[in-house]
């Protein structure tokens, strides 16, 4: 989950360069989420297979046992082998399970997600998912020797042993599974805070605006977007701290409304920093001597 104020940990962040040449950041899906998505998909596959068996039993006497049997064999094979491929092809790299958990398959290089990549990542499911599954459920006698068990164990554990959480299918398809980001466009603080005639009175000198940097500005943005029960107290503490630090005095010696002060300061500070950024001087934080 990503919203405007809590950035995801950089360990999970990857960047892709889109065909337009712009770098975008994506967040890798967690192993737990992917596991849950697979379980949901497997449950759906199970439900479809059950439905097929029910239909076959229902039409058994009508169309003859052999036709019913062959129908069942081909249909179950089709569902099991092509469920993931079908949805990832039709739903742009998602399946019902992935969709519920807001996950998506994308091309690692940032290009178009092509059908061949979808084939590749889902063909590997046979050895990564269905064979281990049938071993657990106690079938497949030919796979029971130690070497195959070991090998399949390695494949299943693969997502735990690489930074990108790739499973075998992702490796040979060149894909990532990422989260769908969520962020709302919030009102610009520079204009939304309660207007107050004091705004006109609250003025800053260039010296007062040259103390803080981008980091402090964006921290202030975060503080001002809070609306918890303690937010008023936090704001007034922050307002007092800033006033002390930059040596700002209320013109008429009266204490000003903290929100109004912070808003005015934010707007002025951002204007000042952005102007400097345009001239190539980006002051990262208050320790930046630049």
């Amino acid at each position: 989950m990503t919203d405007a104020t809590t950035a995801p940990s950089p360990r999970m962040q990857r960047s892709i360069t889109t065909p337009e040449g712009v770098m975008l950041h994506v967040t890798l899906a967690g192993r737990g989420e992917r596991f849950t998505a697979v379980i949901i998909d497997l449950a759906i596959i199970g439900a479809i297979l059950t439905a097929i068996v029910a239909v076959v039993i229902a039409v058994w006497s009508d169309i003859g046992g052999n036709w019913a049997m062959s129908l069942a064999i081909v249909l179950s094979f089709g569902v099991r082998s092509f469920y993931f491929m079908f949805f990832e092809l039709r739903w742009q790299g998602t399946t019902p399970g992935k969709r519920l958990l807001e996950l998506r398959v994308i091309d690692r290089a940032g290009g178009q997600l092509r059908p061949n990549a979808i084939f590749a990542r889902n063909l590997m499911r046979e050895v990564e998912l269905f064979i281990p599954l049938s071993l657990i459920l106690g079938g497949a006698s030919m796979m029971e020797n130690l070497f195959s068990l070991l090998w399949i164990g390695v494949l299943v554990a693969l997502p735990f042993f690489n930074r990108d959480r790739l499973r075998g299918g992702d490796i040979i398809a060149g894909t990532w599974v990422v989260e769908t980001p969520k962020a709302e466009l919030l009102p610009d603080i520079a204009e939304t805070q309660p207007k107050n005639e004091l705004n006109a009175v609250i003025q800053f000198t260039p010296e007062q605006l040259s103390i803080y940097g981008v980091y402090e500005l964006q921290t202030l943005e975060q503080v001002m977007r809070q609306d918890g029960e303690n937010s008023a107290a936090t704001k007034s503490t922050v307002a007092l701290t800033i006033q002390g630090k930059i040596g700002w005095q209320s013109p008429d010696e009266q204490p000003v409304d903290p929100s109004a002060f912070l808003q005015a300061f934010y707007a002025a500070q951002r204007g000042n920093l952005e102007r400097n950024v345009l001239f190539g001087k980006r002051r990262e934080n208050k320790f930046d001597k630049n």
């Binding site: 990503t2 405007a4 889109t18 337009e20 712009v22 975008l24 950041h25 994506v26 003859g64 052999n66 049997m69 062959s70 129908l71 064999i73 081909v74 094979f77 082998s81 092809l89 039709r90 739903w91 742009q92 790299g93 994308i106 178009q112 997600l113 059908p115 061949n116 990549a117 084939f119 590749a120 063909l123 046979e126 050895v127 064979i131 090998w151 494949l155 075998g168 490796i171 040979i172 060149g174 769908t180 980001p181 969520k182 962020a183 709302e184 466009l185 919030l186 610009d188 520079a190 204009e191 705004n199 964006q218 943005e221 975060q222 707007a267 951002r270 204007g271 920093l273 952005e274 950024v277």
Partner: protein, 336 residues
Amino acid sequence: MPDLNLRSYDFRREREKSWRELDDLVKRIRRSGLSKLSASELRRLPELYRSTVSSLSVARSISLDRNVIAYLESLSVRAYFCVYGGREGLLAGIQRFILQDFPSAVRAARWHMAAAFSVLFLGCLTGFLLTLGNADWFYSFVSDGMAGSRTPTAETSVLRDVLYKSDDTAVDRLNAFASFLFTHNTRIGLLSFALGFALGVPTILLIFINGLSLGAFSALYASRDLSVELWAWLLIHGTTELLALVLCGGAGLVLGAAMAFPDKYSRMHSLAVKGRMAAVIAIGSIGLFFVAALLEGFARQLITDITLRYLIGGIALTGWLAYFIMCGKGRYTNDD
């Protein structure tokens, strides 16, 4: 309202409308898919996407409003999913696959195919020679379930009957048989592709073992002077089926080779490029397995004439070879 004189603020006010429009479009696509959009909306999507991506670039360089940048980044990523998430029509995709992607991928991997075929041939030869020398080998190469009544101790007449049995093969039983064959063989084929991930070793073993049992059978029948009949029985569908097995095995070897001998970039890069190409071959071979199962389940049981059996097998092989050699001639365009 104070005179803000903020460039980033004006910038946002100018562009915000088109961001919102893209946001709505993306939300609708998420709910009901690309196909529900009207033609004009479909045209609008990439335009809006590009302008938003360029907004993001501008915002990164002029704006210090963290929320705006985070929002634009998220919107761009979500729109990127829609624009580059793959959206070829299913029919157009299948057509392209059959006419272009599949045969050119097979051509690109022709040496791997040759290697897979050699392994199959070697397995067959080994199985044949060993079993011919000592019939006991037959039991090591062919599992009991597969052999059924066809063992070295069986009467020659029993062995011959298997090739022509027609008493209980009423047509309505055949389709169940054919569908079983199809799913079984396809699983083996796809498995031999996926196992290529282990440097190709299990793939080679799997093909070799298949060759061994084939060789053991032909030795058994050769010892009773039934070779010509057996191969007629095998090749009517076998040219297609063995070809499909070779394709899957070759695809597995492509994967194994990419793992063992990475290209000039990196192992991950070479696996991704070669893996996608090999997967195309493996998917395409499902079609061959399907044809083979039809031939095996229906044609073989209904046609008992030896010449006709050879003829059908030969025509199938010629057809496949012509398809792979000629169809969609040109560069392999799949790995972008």
